[in-house]
Amino acid sequence: MIKPILAGVLAASVAITLPAAAQQQKIKIGFITTLSGPPAIIGKHMKDSVDLALDHLGHKMGGHAVEVIYGDDQFKPEVGVQLAEEMLKKNQVDFMAGIIWSNVMMAVVPVVTGAGHIMVGANAGASPLAGSQCNELYFSASWNNDQSPEALGKYLNDKGIGELYVMAPNYQAGKDMVAGLKRYYKGKIVDEVYTKFQQTDYQAEISQLRAKNPKAVFVFYPGGMGIQFVKQYVQAGLRDQIPLYSVFTVDETTLPALREAAIGQYEARFWSPDLDIPASKKYVADFEKKYGYIPSYYGAQSYDAIMLIDSAVRATKGNLKDTKALVAAMRKANYDSIRGKFQFNNNQHPIQDFYLLQAVKASNKDGVAMKIVQKAFEKHQDAYHQDCKMKW
């Protein structure tokens, strides 16, 4: 007699706990970025922004508790893949997001989409993923790599800058940026100089540049390279002689180190902290209040990635099993983005506006801030979307 009673008690307890567990379904997001080494400053901006997005959502998506699991890819594709596999298998995450570097992204996307999960890129904009290798489970909350130099190229062309001196580090991204610039800039390129990746001293190149006396200079020097190049450009007395235009060189991660050396610098990108859009203003104000520093576009697009996921979870009422419905909801991008209204192209990359910014004197603790000068490119589509076979 004891056995049936026990079984009955067990069955009853199972019946009681099961619905409770279903109600407590937790949404998990794996977020990969770089949290060690010199690029860790970018990772910090991204992680802080994701945490702020969770605060704004009350740590809930569509009524379900949400948890973000962070991973440090150490700037290495193989570590990124390992993290993605661990998050998918061990942590059972529902979505993956983040990733700064194109090479890490190229390695991680097949792992995530292969497992039937959605990946939301929060920085890297590798062209193959926008073109021939587009995937219905891969969404970009950022841009394609060469869109910013395209926007700058268009601006310089519209402005009638007749000749341009071009500099970039000698690696794939450097060449891609220059290719993007040339797609819209039709003036004369005086010289195209490729420097060693991670070069620290640019005095030799700066002397050569001065000797050519171009009308304007275009550079792409991300991270520490940008700090070094811009400081040395200014020290050589070139700031008031030849205007310096750049992409991914001067931003809120490098302004604290550059300060007055940055003043006068032109940059093109899709977002700036002074953008007059309600969602963006709220993000910037709350970010500064919580962390005490000014957010960068790296942070803004990470915040946006989480909000995008939230919009899809809400639209599908948290039914994450139906991937088709989830993808359809993601494609609508029906939420208040930090870039205002934007829409996804057929390749699931945003069609968005790009702006020309300038670093100007400001009353914050660095004494300098980025300010939007004008719109450089309206509803800009990347150059690869025709190569993507997806139609919807």
């Binding site: 620290t200 050569q208 700090i227 400081k231 020290q235 490098t254 604290p256």
Partner: protein
């Protein structure tokens, strides 16, 4: 290509060489005298840059900040020698490489924890900012001239210390035969700590001079360390004179390569080919130079052994 530009590039090369010399002098002393491969020399360079930024801000005076940063790096270096490196002298080079690589990770993480992940702002006093007119139309940064002066002065002081003082005599003796020096009753332990501290202070000097032109960020030392090893291999391990000559040769060759290799190649081969080959060759140039020097003089230009 004008002669004015060639002159300016030679000056750039000399200045870059002097910058490398400040780093190489300390490294070559430690490697030559203590037979210690110290990969963490770049970390001391970073410590010097960070201390200068922090202490200049704290004292409000550039000179006080710089002096305290030098002293600070000297103390950090001596502490590093006493705590971590002393046990490694009798181990082989691979163990030293592993241990000092560990120190690199330690120091990079330490500065991130104290100062944060981002790059630091390194201020310059007003009289070091700006530029001078070398000749018509050519502006040269005042600060680069200051680096040149500081570097050459350091070279003279080091030459004097090494060749004309008792400490220098011990240093030279230690480099040629350490067992004999110890047998003669010299406190070799103390000598090593002092030499290592001086080497660290030199790295700190290089770091604090580099701060205003480079990026003061975690890992900044590793970016320059490879070139510095090339310098001491070319100059001859343990020789300060070799470090000076090697540094200037590397500085000039690297600078002229970056400046003129592409236009020169373009006059020989097709411009698109030069476009591709120029930057690649320019970044290899100093390693090619090292290979040639090693083939002709395997112990370097001025070997101390």
């Amino acid at each position: 290509m004008t002669w004015g530009l060639v002159f300016e590039q030679l000056l750039n090369g000399l200045q870059y060489g002097v910058m490398l010399f400040l780093m190489a002098a300390g490294l070559t002393l430690v490697l030559g005298i203590m037979n210690m491969v110290n990969l963490a020399h770049g970390s001391l360079y970073m410590v010097g840059a960070y201390l200068a930024v922090a202490l200049t801000g704290w004292t409000g005076s550039y000179f006080a900040g710089v002096a305290l940063a030098l002293l600070g790096t000297l103390l950090v270096g001596m502490a590093m020698e006493v705590v971590a490196l002393r046990t490694l002298y009798h181990r082989d080079h691979l163990d030293q490489v592993l241990a000092t690589f560990g120190l690199i990770l330690f120091f990079n993480e330490l500065v991130s924890m104290i100062w944060g992940r981002g790059a630091q702002y390194a201020a310059l006093p007003a009289w070091l900012q700006g530029h001078i007119e070398l000749f018509t139309g050519s502006r040269y940064p005042v600060y680069r001239i200051a680096i040149l002066v500081v570097g050459l002065t350091t070279a003279i002081v080091l030459w004097y210390v090494v060749t004309r003082t008792r400490l220098g005599m011990l240093v030279r003796a230690g480099a040629s035969n350490r067992t004999m020096v110890a047998a003669l009753g010299v406190n070799i332990k103390l000598l090593y700590t002092v030499v290592f501290g001086l080497g660290a202070a030199l790295a700190g000097l290089a770091g604090l001079m580099a701060g205003p032109i480079y990026a003061v960020q975690p890992g900044m030392g590793e970016l320059i360390l490879i070139q510095v090893f090339v310098v001491i291999v070319i100059g001859g391990i343990g020789s300060v004179r070799g470090a000076l000559v090697g540094a200037i040769v590397v500085g000039v060759v690297d600078t002229l390569g970056r400046a003129f290799l592409k236009p020169l190649l373009a006059s020989v081969i097709s411009p698109p080919a030069a476009e591709a080959a120029g930057p690649a060759l320019a970044s290899m140039l100093i390693y090619l130079l090292m290979a040639v020097v090693l083939a002709v003089r395997p112990a370097g230009l001025f070997s101390s052994r």
